[in-house]
Amino acid sequence: MNFFFEVTLNLLSGFGVTLLIFAATLVFALPLGLVLSFGSMSSFKPLKAVVKVFVWIIRGTPLMLQILVVYYGPALIFGWGFLERVVAVIVAFVINYACYFSEIYRGGIQSISKGQYEAGQVLGMTRSQIFFRVVLLQVIKRIVPPMSNEIITLVKDTSLARIIVVEEILKVAYDYTIKGTIWPLFYTAVYYLIFVGILTLLFGYIEKKLNYFRV
């Protein structure tokens, strides 16, 4: 019983690191994704091209590789010092997820009919009024389902952080396995499932809240 309690607590502190990566990624990648999506829709061709190529590279290579590049790259290429491990992981996650989010935003924004913008225009609204008062909520409604998918994937992707020895929950459990106890590894599923369960309820609630209108 004592050992079980100890494992539970250790996994919990590992899950704290998992949550840190998760939360930091969301906080930075959600706005950065919006910036990238505007870039990818820009009428300024060079900017659009640069953003598109960047998104292609990030979405076309494994996240695990990107973590390694962010962590070892600066030291190997420029001879700089190493980032704090968890910081390197967060940087890689933010870049990766911002790219995925940007594509979701872009899809959402482009799915709004031109007529909505024009209706706002002929009613004398400014560009920002049209974006915030007319378009934004419709975009949010459209992107909640794909976003919730992506965000739930993010919860599980955090386990990639162990590639550079960040002590997230799966790394903590794996260390027990090396010492000959395998069940803590399976026990981690409980943590993931509870957290994903909460997120699922939350997204379901948001979807329901936005159900009062149809786009």
Partner: protein, 292 residues
């Protein structure tokens, strides 16, 4: 001097010249119907009147004043164009109501935003006054300003809402004021769109085929509303395929083909006695379609 004068409007997209020199006039309170087969440039003309597109050349005079002159206004600022736009309203073929707002909010939104901008300007004025006032008078002045500003704000809100309710009554949808667009039929949505356009009291209200997206049994209610507006002295430009409507409601008819005004006149002149062979062919074809 006519209420609205359009002089030599042209517009090209790339290599296609869509408007090839459109000139016409319209008197206050008149209804102008624009007919013509599709691709003739009717929508483009309305979009140019509402500055959704900028004409390449041409002059627009309203009430004797030059509102738009392509020579100078090609590069007009967003704010300038917004102000010019407010003289015109546009009702779209596809309604384009805002789905996340109730019927009432759809109608009040734009006016509320304009009122807010007004109110903010007033606040700035008040602050300047306050700074200029002698120190010992400031407290009293501030209290007075607060009272006046609150009055303005409440007054605006009430005025805007009353106006919207009056318009809803006019389009016969008072009982739908709290409904969302998806809960309405196409005809009802279009009537809300008309009320929304009227809320800003445009000098001229434009309609781009307001009934073309509707089931045939719903066109009547929308046309009736438009006809009702005529008796209240609204100046309107209606692009339509409803020949009967054009005949009965319009004071003036323009037949557009290939970017030019092929023929214009009173409904009697255009429909009974078309001078141009193209007009005659178009009218024959649209009556044939009716009996298909």
């Amino acid at each position: 001097m006519a209420f609205l004068e359009i002089e030599n409007y042209t517009k090209r997209f790339g290599n296609t010249e869509v408007l090839k020199g459109i000139s016409f006039t319209l008197e206050k309170g008149e209804v102008l119907a624009i007919i013509g087969s599709s691709g003739g440039g009717k929508t483009t003309l309305l979009r140019c009147l509402n500055f959704l597109e900028m004409p390449d050349t041409g002059v627009l005079r309203l009430n004797g004043e030059t509102l738009f002159d392509a020579e100078q206004d090609r590069r007009a600022s967003d704010a300038d164009i917004r102000e010019k736009r407010l003289h015109f309203g546009l009702v779209f073929q596809q309604f384009n109501l805002f789905p996340q707002y109730t019927v009432l909010r759809n109608i009040t939104l734009a006016q509320t935003l304009l009122a807010k901008a007004d109110y903010r300007a007033k606040c700035a004025e008040c602050r300047a006054q306050l700074r200029a006032a002698p120190k010992d008078k400031r407290a009293a002045l501030r209290a007075e300003q607060k009272r006046v500003l609150a009055q303005i704000r409440d007054g605006q809100k009430q005025r805007i809402e009353e106006n919207a309710l009056r318009l809803l009554e006019r389009v016969g949808l008072t009982e739908k004021k709290n409904a969302y667009p998806f809960e309405l039929s196409g005809g009802q949505q279009q009537r809300v769109a008309i009320a929304r356009a009227l809320a800003l009291s445009p000098d001229i209200l434009c309609f781009d085929e307001p009934t073309s997206a509707l089931d045939p049994e719903l066109t009547g209610e929308v046309l009736k509303v438009i006809k009702g507006l005529k008796s209240s002295d609204s100046t309107m430009i209606v692009v339509t395929h409803e020949m009967e409507f054009a005949k009965n409601v319009a004071d003036h008819v323009i037949f557009m083909a290939d970017g030019v005004i092929e023929e214009e006149g009173t409904p009697a002149e255009v429909f009974e006695n078309p001078k141009s062979e193209k007009t005659a062919a178009f009218l024959r074809k649209s009556t044939e379609d009716l009996f298909d």
